[in-house]
Amino acid sequence: MKDETSQIEQRVKRYWYTDGIGELMGGGMFLLLGLYFSAQQYLGDQSFVGGLLQSGFVVIFIGGVFLGRWLVNVLKARVTYPRTGYVEYRANTGNTILMRVLAAVVAMTVAMASIFVARKFDMIDAIVAVSGVIVAIILIVKQGWSFGVGRFYFLSAASLVFGGILSVSGFARGYNLGMFYGLMGIAFAVSGGLTLKRYLRENPLPAESANE
């Protein structure tokens, strides 16, 4: 019975990822970061707009996250809930929060170790390589939480490949980071777009509401 309950629980949790909307928004966030780093590199620190961009990073990032969440909710209300139903998930439990803190600590440790090694040997653009590793770790952990959504493994591999290649590309750091996040944004958008396309094909809008 425990196994069956756990299977039902996993299926219900996977439902959040069934439409690809979250990934599309994630792709949008990555593209925004890509544009930010590229623009910063292009404008430089000395220009007024460049300085404004640098000091406004936190505002842009947090604003993007809130806008993304709002858009996900709006799109799910329009696309997903009328087709396959509405689910409100429970707030994170203490265990989930602890897991996330642990994952953040692991990611930070890997990042610090990577920076140390990269600086010592002065071989690579450490920041972009570290970004690739951190994003890959976050995606693998996310995959674990999402109970078997396999496409996160591909996105994780893409992050490692993009980070690895760009770290030895020789471009300026801002463009490197811009390209890394831009490529990840495209990968997420493609993954989310294909998932959404399949979801819409498999779940046409019911002729009448099933909510009785």
Partner: protein, 102 residues
Amino acid sequence: MSDDLRGLNDLDRLIHEPARLLIVTILSTVESADFLFLQRETGLTKGNLSAHLSKLEDAGYIKIEKTFKGKLPLTVCKLTAKGQKAYAGYRQQIQAFMDKTG
């Protein structure tokens, strides 16, 4: 009849019915879910699902609310504290029976 089997007589029959057990199990994993989601997950017809939900609501195990998500009307179901307790008790009984009978 052995004591092990006799223990099954005490099972909450309202939850023990397969369709209602599925509904309660789904609702135990989320904060709330709407009629359409439950219908898709359980594979029940609208009438059948309505009947089972009514029984669970009458017993005080679930709460049904008509609400809106944006402009979309939803019939949202939520497991009550009484329902959670009943479901936990049911699981314990089944687990104890499984442990005893191996």
